[in-house]
C-alpha cells in the first residue's frame, strides 16, 4: 500500500451513485459507475477507489485493505467491527422494517405469536431486536427475494430494508414496525487514522464537507 494514497471502498448497488456523487463533489475523484464497474480499482491523484459488494466494505476496512469505506448503516448493524464510524453522509436513506402480508393479523408486539418466524438478510440485527422486545424468534436467513417468503408460507413476516415501500406494496406486504433508519456512513480503519492521520483526515474532511455533514 502506498504511503500517501488514501484508499476508499465504495459499495456496488443502491449506494453507488450517491457514493460517486460525494466523491465528485468533494473534488477527490470524478468517476462513472460504468468505468468503475469495469475496472473495480481506479487510481486518481491522492486516492484509490475500489468497488466491492456492500456487505464486504467493513471487511476491507477492518483489515486495512482500504483506509476508508462508504457503507449503509444497515450493513454496520449486521457486521460490527473495529472500524471508526466517522460521518453520516446523508444519502441512501432507508428503513429496516418488519413487514407482514396485508392479510396477516400481526400488528404490534401484543399480536405476535409465542414464536414468530421471520425471513431476512439481517439475521443478527433481527435477532437482537426481537431479543430486546422479549420475543422468541426463529430467523430464516435468505440471500435474496425475501418478499417471497411470507407469501409461500415459509415465515410470518420479513425484516428487510425499504426506501420507498414500493416493493413491499407490490408483494402485498405492509410495515408493522421499524427497526431503524439507515443512511450511508463513512467508516475508517483504526490504524489508518493513527499512522497516516494527516492524509486520511484530509480526505475525511473533504467528504464531510461534500455531504453537508457537520
Amino acid at each position: 500500500m502506498q504511503e500517501e494514497k488514501v484508499s476508499i471502498a465504495v459499495p456496488t448497488g443502491a449506494l453507488l451513485t450517491g457514493a460517486l456523487g460525494v466523491l465528485a463533489k468533494s473534488g477527490l475523484a470524478r468517476l462513472t459507475a460504468d468505468e468503475l464497474g469495469r475496472q473495480l480499482l481506479i487510481d486518481r491523484a491522492g486516492v484509490r477507489v475500489i468497488l466491492v459488494r456492500p456487505s464486504d466494505v467493513p471487511a476491507y476496512v477492518d483489515h486495512g485493505a482500504a483506509d476508508l469505506g462508504i457503507v449503509g448503516k444497515d450493513i454496520l448493524w449486521e457486521t460490527p467491527g473495529s472500524h471508526y464510524e466517522l460521518v453520516d453522509l446523508r444519502f441512501g436513506g432507508c428503513r429496516l422494517v418488519l413487514a407482514v402480508p396485508d392479510a396477516s393479523s400481526l400488528n404490534g408486539p401484543d399480536t405476535w405469536p409465542p414464536m414468530i418466524r421471520v425471513a431476512t438478510k439481517y439475521p443478527r440485527t433481527a435477532t437482537a431486536w426481537f431479543d430486546a422486545h422479549g420475543q422468541a424468534v426463529e430467523v430464516v436467513r435468505l440471500h435474496g427475494s425475501v418478499e417471497l417468503a411470507p407469501q409461500v408460507g415459509l415465515v410470518d413476516g420479513i425484516v428487510d430494508l425499504t426506501a420507498t415501500g414500493r416493493t413491499l406494496k407490490e408483494n402485498r406486504l405492509r410495515i408493522t414496525a421499524v427497526l431503524g433508519s439507515s443512511t450511508a456512513r463513512l467508516i475508517a480503519n483504526q490504524a489508518s487514522l493513527k499512522t497516516r492521520s494527516a492524509a486520511v483526515q484530509s480526505v475525511v474532511s473533504k467528504l464531510r464537507g461534500a455531504s453537508g455533514g457537520g
Binding site: 500500500m1 477492518d62 467491527g81 466517522l86 453520516d88 483504526q190 489508518s192 493513527k194 499512522t195
Partner: protein, 437 residues
C-alpha cells in the same frame, strides 16, 4: 484433495472422513510459520529479560471466580467455560494479565514490590473474530507491578518499543494517551448519567455519528460540545499538549496532560522520542485503565500489534492493592507482519543430509552426532540408498551438503555446486563445522 483431470473437485464426505482441517477458528502453524512465531517469541522474551523481567508461566485454565474479579462482562462472555470434575466453573484464559495479578496477590504476595514479570502463551476466545476467524491467538506480555508514576509508565512503553524492534519490525509507531484526560472531560460536562453512559458507549463503539446526534440533543455549551466531538482527533507531537491545555478547564484532564508531558520527556531520554505520537483521543476500556495508555502500530497493518497501559485498580480487587502497568504484544500479528515483509524470513536450511548404504549406517550416525555437537542441522536417512537415490533424497530435503556413508574409512561428500569427494568422515566433519567446502 487434488482436482481430477476433468477439473472437478469432489469434497470429502464428512460422515466418513475425519475433519483434517481441524476445528474452525483454530490454526495449525506449519514449519515456516511455527519457526517465525517461535523466533519472534524468543526475541520478545529475551528483550524483556534484558530489562529485568522474570518469566512466569500461568495455566491455560483459570477459575471463573478469579476471572470474574478482573474481566468485564464482554470479555467474560467470550470465554470457553466448562466445569471441572469438582463442579467448579473454569475457563480457558482470554488474556493473561488477570492470571498474573492473581499470582502477585497469591503465591507471590510476600515478594517485594515492584515486581517485573513477563509471560507468553495462547489465549482463547469463543468469538469468531468477525472476519479473522481466529479463536486461538498468542500473546507475549510484561507487567510492572507496584510502581506508580511517569518513570514506571515510560519504562513499560520503552520496553514495548524495544520489543517491537527486537522482533525485526523496522518501522513502527507508539501512540501514547491518558485515560484520565477523558474522565476529566466527562466529569466536567453537565449531562444526566444516562446520557453520559450513552456517550461512553458511542465512543467505545467508535461511532461518532451516534455521538454527534447524542450531543445535538443536549443543552451543552458549544465549547464542551465541540471538545467532546473533537478530542478524539487531538493527536500529534508535544505541541498537542499545549493545544489541549487551552481546551480543558478541569483538574483531572490537566493533571493527565502534565503527566503525559513528563512521560514524553522520559521517552525521549529512553531514545524512542521519534516513534512516539501523543494521542489524547485514545479510546480504550474506560473501566479498566486508570492512567497512561498506549498502542503500538506496525507499517500498513490494520490493527495495533501492542496494547497496554496503567491499571491501578486491578490488584486491589485481589486483596493486594498495588499500582500496575503493562502491555501485551499479539504474537501472531507480529509473525504475520514479518511474513509479509519485503524479505520474509526463510526456514533455516538443513546443513547436512547423511545418506548411507551397508555397512555405513554407524558412520552416518556418528557423523550426525558430531555435526550436531557443532550446532549444525544434520539429518540421517532412515533407509539405505544407492548414490543416485541418495542424490534425489538430498534434493528433496533441500540440504546444503550430502554425505553418503558406505564404509568406516571414507565417505563421499557433495557440497552444493561442487563435485563429490571421498574423504575420511572426521575430515568431512571438520571441514563442515569450519565452514570449509
Amino acid at each position: 484433495m487434488r482436482p481430477r483431470p476433468g477439473g472437478f473437485f469432489t469434497p470429502a464426505n464428512p460422515s466418513v472422513t475425519p475433519q483434517l482441517g481441524g476445528v474452525p477458528g483454530f490454526r495449525d502453524l506449519l514449519p515456516l510459520e511455527a519457526e517465525i512465531l517461535r523466533e519472534a517469541q524468543e526475541s520478545l522474551l529475551a528483550e524483556m529479560r534484558r530489562w529485568g523481567y522474570r518469566h512466569v508461566i500461568t495455566p491455560l485454565v483459570e477459575n471463573m471466580d478469579v476471572l470474574d474479579v478482573g474481566l468485564g462482562l464482554e470479555q467474560r462472555r467470550r470465554l470457553f467455560k466448562f466445569s471441572d470434575a469438582r463442579g467448579d466453573v473454569v475457563a480457558l484464559v482470554g488474556e493473561r494479565t488477570v492470571p498474573v495479578a492473581r499470582l502477585v496477590a497469591g503465591k507471590l504476595r510476600s515478594a517485594a514490590l515492584p515486581l517485573r514479570l513477563c509471560y507468553s502463551g495462547p489465549v482463547l476466545s469463543t468469538d469468531e473474530g468477525r472476519f479473522q476467524q481466529r479463536r486461538e491467538t498468542y500473546q507475549v506480555g510484561a507487567e510492572l507491578i507496584g510502581a506508580s508514576g511517569p518513570v514506571a509508565d515510560a519504562e513499560v512503553i520503552a520496553l514495548a518499543a524495544r520489543c517491537m524492534e527486537a522482533t525485526g519490525i523496522r518501522r513502527y509507531q507508539i501512540d501514547v494517551g491518558h485515560a484520565e484526560f477523558f474522565h476529566g472531560i466527562m466529569d466536567a460536562v453537565k449531562l444526566p448519567d444516562g446520557v453520559k453512559a450513552a456517550v461512553r458507549a458511542a465512543l467505545v463503539a467508535r461511532d461518532f455519528v451516534a455521538l454527534e446526534s447524542l450531543l445535538e440533543g443536549t443543552p451543552l455549551k458549544s465549547a464542551e460540545h465541540e471538545l467532546l466531538l473533537r478530542f478524539p482527533a487531538l493527536r500529534g507531537g508535544p505541541e498537542i499538549l499545549e493545544a489541549a491545555g487551552g481546551l480543558v478547564r478541569n483538574r483531572r484532564s490537566e493533571a493527565a496532560l502534565t503527566e503525559l508531558a513528563h512521560v514524553r520527556e522520559l521517552l525521549v531520554a529512553h531514545g524512542i522520542g521519534d516513534v512516539v505520537v501523543l494521542d489524547l483521543g485514545a479510546i480504550r476500556d474506560f473501566d479498566y485503565y486508570t492512567g497512561v495508555i498506549f498502542e503500538g502500530y506496525g507499517p500498513d497493518f490494520g490493527r495495533p500489534i501492542a496494547q497496554g497501559g496503567r491499571y491501578d485498580a486491578l490488584l486491589a480487587r485481589f486483596g493486594r492493592p498495588a499500582p500496575a502497568t503493562g502491555f501485551m504484544i499479539q504474537l501472531d500479528l507480529v509473525s504475520e507482519m514479518l511474513t509479509r515483509a519485503p524479505r520474509p524470513p526463510a526456514l533455516p536450511r538443513i546443513d547436512a543430509a547423511l545418506a548411507w548404504s551397508d555397512p555405513g549406517l554407524n558412520t552416518a550416525l556418528r557423523l550426525g552426532s558430531t555435526l550436531r555437537l557443532f550446532g549444525m542441522r544434520a539429518v540421517v536417512d532412515t533407509q539405505p540408498r544407492s548414490p543416485a537415490e541418495a542424490k534425489a533424497w538430498w534434493r528433496a530435503i533441500g540440504a546444503a551438503n550430502l554425505v553418503h556413508c558406505r564404509s568406516d574409512a571414507t565417505v563421499s561428500w557433495t557440497s552444493e555446486g561442487q563435485r563429490s569427494r571421498s574423504l575420511p568422515p572426521e575430515q568431512v566433519a571438520g571441514r563442515l563445522a569450519g565452514g570449509v567446502t
